[in-house]
Amino acid sequence: MADPMRIRAQLAGDKANVRVLMAHEMESGQRKDSAGNLVPAWYINEVTSTLNGKVVLTAEWGPSVSKNPFLQFAIKGAKAGDKVGVSWKDTKGESRSDEATVS
């Protein structure tokens, strides 16, 4: 199974600043290994974030996002104690969901 994400959600005024670190190889499909064979593409192509179960962000990612990507965004109207969920799906069909509490 994929390694867990690190999610921080900090309240700043009427919005929550969310910072997410995802553990993923993010192979672009362009690189070759030491034997000269193409390393098959393997990257996160779908990211979703929820606030108390309601979707607030969806993103379609491509192969140019870095390894172990860092994502930062703000959610308007979030309050302390709200649950921020982030989940991703990759090109192999693997997925990972984690949750953090706004503080």
Partner: protein, 267 residues
């Protein structure tokens, strides 16, 4: 004050501001870039993994590392990073964080230490050692280095490390000190700390393990020092070799009193 004067003053202020803006040196720009990276340091992912690996029952013996003695007694993990490398009576040798972890993995968990030491960096159980070292370094973050130098072996390792640091060799005939022996120098955009004395908080020895943004790899001190030898066009002395531990001792003792920022983030 008439209107003309006000606008002239405003102009002057603008120019002064513009000048100050233009005066931002490349070093400052790099600092800014680093500060931005620091906010989302992926080393945190490795810390989380390391903590998990510490508590997990693993290896042929299916036990956790929670009884591992890293110098302050079995199971103590806070602050141990600041006092390594040090002499261990049970193995009768000076060990650094990573080689000591390997000992624990062999004695407690039943792994084959020699086998893991031969594994290339970033592969198999080497990844475990790096993640553990990253987490343990994080548990001592902001603490000050205070390597013990009482045992004769610890003094020997310091002296050997010092000599290795100044030993010139290889096809380019240079030593560690060729690049790290003067103040205020850099290679391209990388500052070169002077490691022959205390380089200060979070520099040199105090910044590893670190995450390398450019290749997305987490490096421990053993890989860092082995790679120094590669840059010198020498073969790797090897994981946990006496040479790399001696160099670590030399750098660590020099950093006495400096704060650790590990796990850090690098270009």
């Amino acid at each position: 004050m008439n209107r003309k004067m006000v606008s002239a003053l405003a102009m002057a202020a603008c120019m002064a501001f513009g000048l100050a803006h233009a005066q931002k040196t490349s070093v400052q720009s790099i600092e800014e870039y680093r500060a931005m990276l620091q906010d989302g340091n992926p080393a945190e992912l490795f810390e989380a993994k390391g903590e998990d690996l510490w508590k997990q029952q693993r290896g042929p013996k299916k036990v956790s590392l929670e009884r591992c003695d890293l110098g302050k007694g079995p199971g103590v993990f806070k602050g141990v990073f600041l006092e390594l490398p040090r002499y261990f009576a049970d193995t009768n040798r000076v060990q650094d964080m990573e080689s000591r972890l390997l000992t624990c993995m062999e004695v407690l968990q039943g792994f084959n230490a020699a086998e893991i030491a031969k594994t290339p960096f970033g592969k198999g159980e080497q990844k475990t050692v790096t993640a553990l070292a990253t987490w343990l370094a994080g548990e001592s973050k902001d603490g000050k280095f205070n390597l013990p130098q009482q045992h004769p072996q610890e003094k020997v390792f310091y002296e050997v490390g010092k000599r290795l640091f100044f030993q010139r060799g290889g096809p380019h005939d240079f030593s560690c000190a060729s690049c790290h022996g003067q103040d205020n120098t850099r290679i391209r955009l990388q500052d070169l700390p002077n490691l022959t004395k205390n380089p200060g908080d979070g520099i040199g020895f105090a910044a590893w393990p670190a995450y390398r943004v450019s290749n997305g790899q987490m490096w421990g001190m053993q890989q860092r020092l082995n790679d120094c030898y590669r840059q010198q066009r020498f073969p790797y002395p090897g994981f946990g070799s006496d040479a790399t531990i001696a160099l670590g001792t030399y750098l660590g003792v020099n950093s006495k009193g400096s704060a650790s920022i590990a796990p850090a983030i690098k270009r």
